[in-house]
Amino acid sequence: MTENNTGNKQMTLKDAIGKFVKDGCSITFGGFIGRDCVAAVHEIIRQGIKELTVIDDSKTDMMDLLVGAGVVKRWEGAYLGYGAIGLAPNIRRSVEEGIPSKIEVEDWSNAGVSMRYLAGSLNVPFMATRSMLGTDIIKYNRRIKVINDPFEGEPVALVPAAHPDVAVIHVQRADAMGNAQVWGFTGNDENKARAARHTIITCEEMVSTDEIRRRGNMTLIPFYCVDAVVQVPYGCHPQSCYGYYAYDVLFCGDYHQAAKDREEFMRWLDRYVFTSKDHAAYCEKVGWGRLQSLMTMERHFNRIPG
């Protein structure tokens, strides 16, 4: 919910993260292992923010990086793996060995988290779902309440609304007012933006408000949900961004290999995050030619209509 409806919410990534993401706050991220806000995660790590509670559905690189960097105190979510490549090395080290610190874990299913954000966006206290019933998710997660439906009598699970302090959501394009347009799947992003107290939009391209008006159906998140807009080209790399660039499976394979060893992971973090002053410096290290190849591949399959 924005406190600033002046016409221009454009900021640098450094300023937007610095202003809204505070030590100890709760946060969620848009995308769904695709259209992820990786650049924002790098900036959170770079600024040394601590003790975050992440309330999210499914992430790979982003959670592995945040947990490995010691940024996360607690996670409430559904999936903490590394996609088709394997298990997430930093997640394993944290949960199994407490390195660099032990995160608190609260397991949900993806539909369970989706209903938490739907409730948050509707401004009602909870939603009902038929997922998770009869399983150990409910045994270990006391915040899921199983009741008999007061109308028909059948058991249903109730999940509480999620209201994180901040949502960070990467989109294909936005205007300076904060209208955010998305192509491809939309995940839970429209609900995350509405459930969160503050929303930061990062985007591939800035466009004029007139251009937004030409395709109002594509505006997933309207300006009144948004506090800050930041242009970050290639902001999802190594994840994909529909219509812009494909998933960098080989970069992720190398990361996964490196992250298995704590020292190597710290060197990776140093190279790509701490010694990169911003996302453009990260892109420089990844290689502009490589990013161009990923864009060529994506545009072979998907193009955003001009």
Binding site: D36, G77, A78, G83, N110, A111, G184, F185, N188
Partner: protein
């Protein structure tokens, strides 16, 4: 098994592909389940529509996905929507079949993808796994669920450490209905050595089909309870060349089936991109 002609993973994908029927709507997990789905689409079920939890409904399968939200999941899709919407559609019963992987399965088809406890517990497990993702939702809601995992000791156990995804729960009659679960439970467990199904009256898993060259005794020795065997144990046919060709075209750089070794054998990102485009069926 003829190890020269095909790998165990390839046979697993082909056996799973046969579980899909043309014109069905399928909710499929990432990894070998998805390779099986793409294979089915390119083979006997061209009108199979695959749904992804990120919100992609009915994409053309030009290329393999490494994550549920890869833009490949949206290539030429019939509908691009939200995550909560596709889970709601699942809960309404629109999806015919779900395929998912697991680390552990028990005799009633309950799955664990959350944690291997070892001599520890949920809070400090021996191995932390990814968690439910959408697995629980598939197992809770979809009518026909197919499970894929390798047949290895400690994977087929009397009781899983943690029930992430419901099978037939404690196996008692109506256990799923009493819990409030809409879907009817698992129908098959596909492994790299054999295929298992569930007895309709006892809900217990039994050995239904063994693969060429596999011995039933070998299968029994790897299952952590006294597994029952079908009265007429079937033997799977050798995969046909055209089936193997379809599986290989679905994962042309072998990155899903071949893992880290296959990634290392690629000369460059450009080689991977070239292979993907050449095998996409869209030039």
């Amino acid at each position: 098994m003829d190890n020269q002609r095909y790998t165990a993973s390839e046979l697993m994908a082909i056996m799973t592909a046969k579980e899909f029927r043309d014109w069905e709507v399928a909710f499929v997990g990432i990894g070998i389940p998805l390779v099986a789905g793409i294979t089915a689409k390119r083979f006997h079920a061209p009108n199979l529509n695959i749904v992804y939890e990120s919100g992609c409904i009915g994409p053309q399968k030009y290329r393999v996905d490494f994550n549920v939200g890869d833009s490949s999941a949206a290539d030429g899709a019939l509908c691009l929507t939200s995550e909560w919407r596709v889970f709601s559609d699942m809960q309404c019963g629109y999806y015919d079949v779900g395929v998912l992987g697991a680390a552990q399965v028990d005799k009633f088809g309950n799955l664990n993808t959350t944690a291997i406890f070892g001599d520890r517990d949920y809070c400090l497990p021996l191995v932390r796994l990814p968690g439910s993702g959408g697995g629980n939702d598939i197992g809770s809601n979809i009518g026909r669920v197919v499970v894929m995992l390798r047949l290895e000791p400690l994977r087929f156990v009397e009781k899983v450490d943690y029930i992430t995804t419901p099978g037939f729960l404690d196996g008692t009659p109506e256990a799923r209905k009493r819990a409030g679960l809409p879907g009817s439970g698992p129908v098959a467990v596909v492994t790299d050595k054999a295929l298992f199904r569930f007895d309709s009256s006892t809900r217990e898993m039994y050995l239904d089909t063994i693969y060429p060259g596999v011995d039933a005794g070998e299968v029994k020795s790897m299952v952590g309870w006294e597994i029952k065997i079908a009265a007429e144990l079937k033997v799977a046919p050798e995969p046909e060349d055209r089936e193997l060709a379809a599986v290989r075209a679905a994962d042309p750089a072998n990155l899903i089936m071949g893992g880290a070794a296959a990634r290392k054998s690629l000369a460059s990102l450009d080689e991977y991109i070239d292979l993907t485009i050449r095998n996409s069926g869209r030039f």
